[in-house]
Symmetry: D2
Subunit: 364 residues, 4 copies
């Protein structure tokens, strides 16, 4: 299906940037999952733009759960989350209706939807719709945590500035999972922020790479071919706007290793089979081997920039220029982090419930 992910737990996203609501409809949730409103709010806050390094559109991300929830728990029936759109200035968009913003989906939307698309503020392509992913993800992050499965993501690279590597997953997760600017190194954070401000001052934008680690994934989940864990995770990661690359374990670097280096030797440790290294990112033959699952996601620089750019008027088929005057965000990488965590939680939940049944996430 087009705007739906998952078969056991399935999520449909809906809404346009300047419509009445954006939201998501989630089917297949086990009954009895606790809905932690405060945690959903705190996750949404991590996605929200922050002054100075982000757009100044005030996104309050109020939300309401209008179905599938009762007395603070999921009912097991489809759960619908609504997030109202406020603070919209549609007038901005009308005058540039047919001017394609480079790097954006204005032109492809027009090709696909024949002009019927809601073009205001990116319409259905707006990054704002990821707020719905974050809200859904928050419910599942909580549910996964109950089962001992944890997800942590840091900004491993931003505008060519590199963060430190993880040293102690559990401890590092505690730190980064509540930070807006999720780096392990304070120094890297400062340098990255300088780069963002520099880009902003130059009417430009920067991108980066997020590194995610999944702990506690049950062994033997995933499928050998088309529904490998890599297939499912990459599928949902590439549905996040601005993602242009996904790699597992050593990813592209593994291509330069020798087999004897890339193969993760097994050993028995504390009576348990583990691998000494983790070049394969916890996945062999598409199936989890019990080691941490590691994945990196490349995020392109924000396409909306105040700089003047060459483009076309695709209605009148002529060259022109565009200069975005509206609010913009010189770097979406820090905000994309919680989106990445959220979509990974969605995909893992689907993988696990396909394998272990609808009630798996409910626990005992």
């Amino acid at each position: 299906m087009k705007n739906t992910f998952g078969s056991s737990i399935s999520v449909t996203l809906f809404g346009e940037s300047h419509g009445e609501y954006i939201g998501a409809c989630v089917d297949g949730l086990a009954p009895g999952l606790k809905i932690d409103i405060d945690f959903i709010k705190s996750q949404l806050a991590l996605r929200r733009p922050v002054e100075l390094i982000s757009t100044t559109r005030i996104e309050e991300d109020e939300f309401s759960i209008v179905s599938g929830s009762f007395n603070g728990y999921t009912t097991g029936t489809p759960l619908t989350i609504l997030i109202p759109n406020k603070d919209v200035k549609s007038a901005d968009y009308d005058k540039n209706r047919f001017i394609a913003r480079p790097g954006h989906a204005d032109y492809t939307a027009y090709l696909k939807y024949h002009g019927f698309e809601d073009y205001r503020g990116g319409g259905h392509f707006s990054g704002r719709i990821t707020a719905a992913l974050v809200a859904v993800g928050a419910i599942l992050i909580s549910a996964l945590k109950e089962k001992g499965i944890e997800i942590g993501t840091h900004i491993s690279r931003l505008a060519n500035v590199y963060d430190s590597n993880f040293s102690d997953y559990k401890k590092d997760f505690k730190e980064i999972n509540s930070k807006y600017f999720a780096t392990l190194s304070k120094e890297a954070e400062e340098k990255m922020k300088d780069k963002i401000i520099e880009a902003s001052n130059n009417s430009d934008s920067v991108g980066g790479v997020l590194e995610t680690v999944i702990l506690g994934m049950p062994e033997g989940a995933g499928e050998p071919w088309f529904d490998s864990i890599e297939s499912e995770l990459s599928h949902i990661l590439f549905s996040v706007p601005a993602v242009k690359g996904v790699e597992f374990g050593d990813g592209f670097k593994i291509a330069d290793l020798l087999g004897s280096q890339a193969n993760d030797s097994y050993e028995i440790k504390n009576g348990k089979v583990i691998t000494k290294t983790n070049h394969n990112g916890g996945i062999n033959g598409g199936i989890s081997n019990g080691m941490p699952i590691t994945v990196k996601t490349a995020i392109k620089p924000t396409p909306t920039i105040p700089k003047e750019q060459e483009t076309v008027d695709f209605k009148n088929n002529k060259n022109t220029k565009i200069q975005s005057s509206g609010r913009h965000d010189p770097c979406i990488v820090p905000r994309a982090r919680v989106v990445v965590d959220s979509v990974i939680a969605i995909a893992l939940s689907d993988i696990l419930t396909k394998r272990f049944g609808t009630d798996y996430l409910k626990g005992k």
Copy 2:
């Protein structure tokens, strides 16, 4: 579904390395697609191991189409391809039944299938099953070509040796699409082969990166969120064994660009909207913009190596060593090329028929 890809055109893979047949069952093909037996054979030949730089298992890849075909054309009903297994030496595998080969799926298969898996020769995880993907892909590559859609892949990097870049897609495709060792540069080819032989002499193996370009993809195909072209292509690419990374356009490198660099400016050329650059790989907002779609796929070094490796006996939970004595392939990258072309053809066909209907590939 687990071993099925696609909803409009769907492919199910089946078979084990040492079973009677491997094969595929394909549903949703338009009636009237020409089945070019010679082209299927030539594509299968490109996947077959070649002496010196490949395994010495003789894989003849005879095949038969036992349903869904009549008088040389598809009927529109499920098409089943059978490829018989021959030259199998199962005895080799019994003695190491519970010794995990590092980098392989032996251990994860055991975790998932509780010991009921056919462990001989990698069973259902065997790279040999990709022959079925190639046979299916060949039918769709032909059908796509009729619609003006062409796919070309070269070995852009192998053991750290880099190939030249594409200079003229159409001309380059003609060259590489029939070559076993698909490089654009003759010099790179020689160096890469030296690296493979060197690895082989050291009882080791090497990996590489494949770069694919898709020409003629209709504009406006794909979906904004979960079924973005990137999502669909990465999903199927990550189902190919040994793939550990997938990126579109500039991929991970786009993360280091400024927005003003990464944004592809539009212009009118010959009355048509094009982009001056193609950092986004022909896709904006998950939807094709009419430019070539570009994707890179990282292939890890062959896990089977003759070198002694540390590992475990996972049945008896003790450390041990393993030394593969069987046939092996010091580099699967050249053979993986036609597999990558094939799975891309499958995914594109599904995307296009979901959008334009079952009979789209049949043409006029």
Copy 3:
């Protein structure tokens, strides 16, 4: 998926009787379908309970389309319809929380959802949720009509009173499609109403059978096996609450015919292949043959009745009695008619767009 129907056009239903909203999320609609608010309203009015022969809960069925619509047309992105719940008296339901209403889903909901279900007013099982199906169906009925495909349903039997048969489909459709009590015979209508009033006076309820005819269905749609037109239509019809039987053409009566009677002879009429009779209901081998598609749907009597009934307290595992004091509807058959039309429109739209592409319903 559990609460989603369709793969090309997919509908997810959500909501509980006493929640904030019920609604539907529809993916895969072509861009450019006209949204005729008045027609949606008039269809919803046909589903609404009518005084005397129906429940006295005032259901105003206001609705809003909060995504996927722009300037009066579908955008092609997921369309979400919200129908607010008003006039809810939840207190009624708390005291009988664990008393199973015979014929209802209270007990099975408890078994499935482990007590987390919203039990008020039938929760997610409430017939009220069909209002969302009607709203979605209205959009698709309009779209199908543009393509020359029309659906008409009459009450062919109610409490053992039989309506006349169709005499002139097009003319009859015009009549019944805007009637609340959709009979062809005025006399039958009166008798049926008497039966309903009689049942109501006896604190009881009655059921009936709906007969639907689909005109203009393109030839060659449907699939030979699992996605036969009969499979798809019955799938969605049996998802309507209270439906217990579905038959096509002569249905169960065809079992009593001889082959020579049941076989519909073909003939050429006005240069077109037709069948002289239509015992097979316009479908052969799962595929439309161009004749009217005919289907009958059996609706059981409303399970909620004021009469005292024997039942159990399933929490405390003891026998007890129940007497519904709330609002109830002595016969849902007249209201179910527009629901049946709506779900058939949904299934046909999915069948047609799977076959002919996303934009098929948009017309030229």
Copy 4:
């Protein structure tokens, strides 16, 4: 998907009547299901035509399982069953290529497949393909039985002759499940056979109704709306050729009852909640309530009859006549019985593994 049923356990049917093989590819089976070759054979024997009351085409239904099976158990990977076609006389069919056999799919196949269909012997529409359903069903019937779930079907009506009703399910199942002509009453069997012979003598055919009971279905399985148990079972039942009606519990007769009659009162019996009657066929709100699930399936008379019939040459658009000279079967109802059991086993297995996980059928 078109020729695939199920999402957790999915079955794809392939093959043509006069092709090399017919068969099925099944994905999602738990590893470790015993493959009882003898039981599969005995089930196939029940589907095989029997002299005098059936076609004289000798269908030996040899079969081989070429993937997904190892050492007598399922491996958990896709299982493919091949049934070779023998005794085919294709020449018979060529001369009537464009003459539509009334009641058959020749003409609709032509409309759908534009003439590329394999028209010999009904091609992909041939009842023979149900042999593959029976083989798959046999594996799942065994697996379900291990979990205490049993299916029994008798011929409740044939050519207007009625069988007795079930008196003791478990005992009756033992009797009918191994009988070719599955009636409960010996007298009814004789009368039915007379009717078949009479029809045969008149170059005609007869139909009938099958009644199925499912015992031991776990409570709380199924879904409230689109994936109700009724939806899933009817979906697969209507994919069996010649099925024109499906009803649950009292089915169409429930439409004539009063609510106070149709509602099944609950009571506590031996500490367990049961219903006193079972008008709703073990399903409330789409979900199993623990009572036997009852379903009736209407089978039309065999369309192939030796009698001369009026029809058309759809290629040359002219009226003509047809007289089938080939083998035919004056009544498929007895043979359809094991097909109905098989498809019900497939659907139940999918429902149960979606709910309780992949390994559910494997038992402990």
